[in-house]
């Protein structure tokens, strides 16, 4: 019994996901991702629902969930900003740009704005090093960042 239920559309998606694997448990990350993207967080209740789909214990789901950085126990903002701070971006001045972004959003790195619009995270290499400095907002990569470009990008998001 869990207080979380998948929507009809999600149930269909889950059937499709499960058909890709000979063993159910392989659908663990896809299901966690499905919930994270829909709810912007993975609640204990959702983990119970996932465990029922995969025929494993909720504790097991949690042990996997807590291992991966893209899953969040606490709700993240509508726009998840992952700001790359690894070496190629560091060499291209990402530290100052990250500071600028945090200041613009009036939050500390790791926090979410009070209107739940933006979450700002420091991120390790995102594999777009030739466009450094770069960040990823939700599914979109933004490279060759400058303070002006960051302002423009953030201002353009509803």
């Amino acid at each position: 019994m869990s207080g979380f239920t998948f929507s009809e559309k999600q149930e269909k998606e889950i059937t499709g996901i499960l058909s890709k694997y000979p063993f159910k448990k392989s659908a663990m990350l896809p299901l966690l991702t499905l919930v994270q993207r829909a709810e912007r967080a993975i609640s204990p209740e959702a983990m119970v629902a996932i465990s029922e789909k995969l025929d494993c214990s909720p504790a097991y789901v949690q042990s996997v969930m807590s291992f991966y950085t893209m899953y969040h126990a606490e709700k993240v903002g509508k726009y998840m900003i992952l700001f790359c701070i690894n070496i190629s971006c560091q060499l291209n001045g990402c530290d100052k740009l990250l500071e600028h972004t945090a200041k613009k959003l009036n939050i500390k790195v790791g926090e979410t704005t009070s209107d739940e619009k933006f979450t700002l995270h420091r991120e390790e290499c995102l594999a777009d090093c030739t466009n450094a400095p770069m960040m990823r907002i939700n599914d979109t990569y933004y490279g060759d960042l400058t303070e002006q470009r960051i302002d423009q990008i953030l201002d353009s998001l509803d």
Binding site: K25, L54, Q90, A127, A132
Partner: protein, 418 residues
């Protein structure tokens, strides 16, 4: 300049089935299906192709290690591309997804695999539609599915997303992750070729490696082997980033001088500064100082210079940089990404971080460098997977070549800053 992978990379709509086929795409299947699977394995062996993900293991040999007569077998394409500095696989999947699918079909035919997964890092969610569409089109054309081109050979390919863990690029951690577990590396042996995904024989190859296979089947192993050096055959994609005027992914024939890569292809150092150091194969390999810029870019020459070709990420650092700062950033990365399973890695990365941080706060003591070397000695080759070794690389090499950058802190006069 010889181009195999990047020959048409910027051609409009290359990612579509139509344009890919017009460029000769999927022609290798006909050639392959006229041969026995073993002949393809032999051709890949003869081509001298080595794994482009980092370890550089001979690809054909890897395929030939699959446990005999054990089925089903699996193919996992490692598209977890997370090695700092590396962004070539992203470009390949974005612009030429069909070359990867064709390579996977050829590999699967050669290795008698019927299910292939493309394990992509979670952050590549934007590519899933791209790759997914290409896979869908390949099914529609009968290049995937049941009884492909009337040969009786079946193959399904699926994409699978990770969720933010560098360690999942390590092949056994990738398998655990794909099985729905925490991405912790497995003890080897058994190697994946014997007991891999779901404890069945499994081939794991990097995106770039698989994208080369159609060329080898089309043009022949000899032609591929005619490029490069005696032991490093063919071409390699190099992601040049950092302080260069024209950062980008470039395809070079193995054995090209590093000077050419940095100064000709990537346009030289920004602001016409001087080169201070470069990391030739992604952050996990030892850095080299500027005076080694004439080393040739191939597996053996880089090994002789005390480093590795790795994933082919050339990180270029100019003389405004304090190497201690860059090294701390890399240690921080490995500390964050250590899965925590093995003590030398889990604790060692943290100790190194604490020491270098103290040095940078001018609280270091003269024996700190010795302590760092001692910790590195106790980490290197002492964990299940090479993550600990990877953290040791920048530390030991930065001390070896840029000791004065560390010592400046003890004298209270740090050099440069990013």
């Amino acid at each position: 300049m010889t181009q195999i992978l990047f020959k048409n990379i910027n051609m409009k709509d290359l990612h579509t089935m139509k344009v890919y086929e017009e460029q000769g795409g999927y022609q290798a299947l006909k050639k392959a299906f006229a041969q026995k699977p073993e002949e393809i394995v032999e051709a890949v062996k003869a081509s001298g192709l080595r794994g482009r993900g980092g370890a550089g293991f001979p690809t054909g040999l890897k395929w030939s290690f699959l446990a005999k007569d054990v089925f089903p077998r699996y193919l996992c394409c490692n598209a977890d591309e997370s090695e700092p500095g590396t962004c070539k696989d992203r470009e390949l999947m974005l612009k030429n997804p069909h070359s990867l699918i064709e390579g996977m079909i050829l590999c699967s035919y050669a290795c008698r695999v019927e299910i292939g997964y493309i394990y992509m890092r979670g952050e590549f969610h934007d590519l899933i539609f791209n790759m997914g569409k290409a896979i869908e089109d390949a099914y529609a054309k009968g290049y995937l599915g049941k009884n492909i081109q009337g040969t009786g050979f079946n193959l399904d390919i699926y994409t699978h997303l990770g969720a933010g863990a560098y360690i999942c690029g390590e092949e056994s951690a990738l398998l655990n992750s794909l099985e729905g577990e925490r991405g912790e590396p497995r003890m080897k042996p058994p190697f994946p070729a014997v007991e891999g995904l779901y404890a069945k024989p499994t081939v794991i190859n990097n995106v770039e490696t698989l994208c080369v296979i159609p060329y080898i089947v089309n043009e022949g192993a000899e032609k591929y082997a005619s490029m490069g050096t005696e032991k490093s055959k063919g071409t390699k994609l190099v992601s040049v980033s950092g302080h260069v005027k024209k950062p980008g992914n470039y395809e070079v024939v193995l054995g090209t001088p590093i000077r050419e890569i940095i100064y000709d292809l990537a346009g030289g150092i920004r602001d016409d500064n001087n080169l201070k150091a470069f990391i030739p194969g992604g952050s996990s390999v030892p850095m080299l100082p500027a005076d080694q810029v004439d080393v040739l870019y191939d597996y053996e020459s880089l090994a002789a210079a005390g480093t590795m070709l790795g994933s082919g990420a050339m990180i270029v650092i100019d003389d405004t940089v304090n190497i201690v700062e860059s090294t701390l950033r890399l240690i921080s990365f490995y500390m964050h990404e250590s899965c925590g399973k093995c003590t030398p890695c889990r604790e060692g990365t943290r100790w190194l971080y604490q020491i270098v941080e103290k040095i940078m706060q001018n609280k270091g003591q003269l024996d700190y460098i010795e302590k760092m070397e001692d910790i590195c000695d106790n980490m290197n080759m002492k964990a299940f997977c090479p993550l600990a070794d990877a953290c040791v690389s920048p530390v030991v090499s930065s001390i070896k070549y840029f000791r004065s950058d560390y010592e400046a802190y003890f004298k209270n006069t740090p050099v440069g800053s990013v």
